[in-house]
Amino acid sequence: AESKLMIGMLPKAKGNAYFISCKNGADKAAKELGVELLFDGPTDSNAAKQNEIVENWITLGLDVITVAAENKESLSTALRKARAQGIAVLTYDADAMPDARSFFVNQATPAGIALGLLDKAAELAGGEGEIAIITATLTAGNQREWLRIIHETLPVKYPKLKLIAVRPSDDLKDKAQSEATALMSAHPNLEVIVAICTPGTPGAAEAVKQAGKTGKVHVIGLGLPNENRRYVHEGVTDAVMLWNTEDLGYLTVYAAAALAHGELKPGAKSFQAGALGSFEITGDNILLGKPYFFTKENIDRFDF
């Protein structure tokens, strides 16, 4: 009786606004293509949980599994198992080991994100001064990766820029707000707060606003337009970095369906994704495009 293609989409954390907007794009694509979409994942970032879901999907015999891997290594074994059983595997947002999947829908490389944020921070600080980072947890996979790149690049590229603290916020906006407040009081010369988790950006912005340091302490970070709109308008948050997450979900589902139907093969140079048109493929990375900075000027063009 089953004739519809079944695609599983595994986010890092289901409740995260970032992935919710991914899902919106994915749903749109699923409707257009007439495929069945399962969107399920841990409620908080949790590698073990992701593993269990993938294994469940394998025994459920889905046609395609798409994952945003919380942790490269731990998920790859399960993904290889899926491929061995004839299930097509795609990664999006955060990659697994290359041999564990066919393609990676690359919204931006880790370096692209980390350096994008760092460059922006350096620009706002005028090339020298103190910056601080707010992360979700100290253990979260992709954030660790970005931090690693930042730590490596900083002394080389911006020797006068000083990273004075990395503070976890447990993905809680309120905690990020407290942390940012304490950071500002401990470091009166702090110039930029960089939030590398989405709840952290509005949290830090609210702290800066309450501290009356709008314009003195800059806030940049990852995030969705709707959660940051008012801070961007008020000038508290200078820029919110995001690739278009809805497009990411949309593209992922299109790529998944194409992969399952054998329309997307290794070695392809480009890929046509419905209403979004053509995307470039380099190696096995389908490129979504560069990350995007939402600023006062353009943020009102987006509603998600």
């Binding site: 073990a48 879901i53 253990t139």
Partner: protein
């Protein structure tokens, strides 16, 4: 609830908590078998009713199962250990660090990890028996402390991976038809079962749970026994850390986050009284199974009835099931006298 000589055997068996739980488990299983199994578009039978799925459920339940086994003797003595999940994380890091950074061979690293678990359990035990502090407070403190040490040791950032296949076998492969880690769980279950049900030690744990003073007056080594259960909990948590690491192929400071609550839920669902004295390993295992089947069974439904968000639904249903089980097993108590809280 107390059996007296006059109640016929069949009635005693029928109204046992374990029997009711087994019934719940069977009903769950049959429902999921019926509604959670289907044939996919490639003509393959998929879903809950497949052997693979059953094996996966077993595989995913091993760590929680171990922690629940560790907690049952603790709760039998009317204690509690909130730190087992954090200790799992700490032990995973200790293991990874020993093997990866210190270059210790895997068997020795594993042995030292078990020792670390015993020491951590010993810290709980010492604070509880020497300073006479309530277990809830002690293990609330070590809950934070152990996780903190794991993060401090890795600066939150290091993940140990690239374990050799021989070790990963323990977490990812099958042996003699069962997932390899089941061969860790089963002996531990048998061992703890024997300790609780077949030895004088287990008897004294119950006595302590019912009345620590009464046990002391009977000449039982109360402090030693209490220390034993916390140390044992530490060792078993370390064992769980090993198979967790093997299953995921990585050791990371956040391993086992929140597992203590799952394990406590399973133990209590299994009929062990949080006031101590009453409870069984069979019940605990059934409790673990009931939760695992519920969770994994619901996870198979999206394919069949297009139901998303099964994770949350499983949480809600587990909470309700726990309340129902409590209400059910307390029914006789309502008719008679109540117990004092906590």
């Amino acid at each position: 609830m107390s059996p007296t000589g006059e109640t016929p055997l069949w009635r005693r068996l029928l109204f046992r908590h374990e029997t009711l739980l087994l019934l719940v488990l069977v009903v769950e299983w049959l429902l999921f078998y019926h509604y959670g199994t289907t044939v996919n578009r490639r003509g393959v039978t998929v879903g809950f009713g497949t052997m693979d799925r059953q094996m996966d459920i077993l595989r995913h339940s091993c760590e929680i199962g171990l922690l629940a086994l560790a907690l049952t003797p603790v709760i039998l003595t009317a204690g509690i250990d909130l730190s087992v999940g954090s200790l799992l994380g700490l032990c995973a890091i200790v293991f990874g660090k020993l093997w990866h950074d210190a270059g210790v061979g895997l068997p020795l690293a594993a042995a030292l990890t078990l020792l670390a678990g015993a020491l951590a359990g010993g810290l709980n035990a010492g604070l509880i028996t020497r300073l006479r502090l309530p277990p809830l407070i002690v293990t609330l403190g070590t809950y934070s402390l152990f996780r903190g040490l794991a993060e401090a040791m890795t600066q939150g950032a290091v993940t140990y991976t690239d374990f050799p296949a021989a070790f990963l076998f323990l977490g990812q492969e099958r042996w003699l038809g069962l997932p390899a880690q089941a061969w860790v769980l089963l002996p531990v279950a048998a061992g703890v079962w024997l300790m609780v049900h077949a030895t004088a030690t287990g008897r004294s744990l119950r006595a302590i749970g019912f009345s620590p003073e009464g046990a002391r007056y009977a000449g039982l080594p109360v402090d030693r026994r209490v220390a034993l259960v916390y140390v044992l909990a530490g060792v078993i948590a370390a064992l769980a850390a090993l198979i967790y690491t093997a299953r995921l192929g990585q050791a990371k400071a956040d391993a086992g986050t929140g597992y203590e609550l799952f394990a406590i839920t399973a133990v209590v669902l299994g009929g062990t009284s949080i006031f101590g004295g009453r409870g069984s390993i069979t019940g605990t295992l059934l409790g673990v199974a009931a939760i695992a089947v519920l969770k994994n069974g619901l996870a198979t439904l999206p394919v069949v009835i297009r139901l998303n968000a099964t994770e949350e639904l499983a949480g809600v249903l587990t909470g309700l099931l726990l309340l129902l089980a409590l209400l059910g097993s307390n029914l006789p108590a309502w008719l008679g006298r109540g117990r004092t809280p906590r």
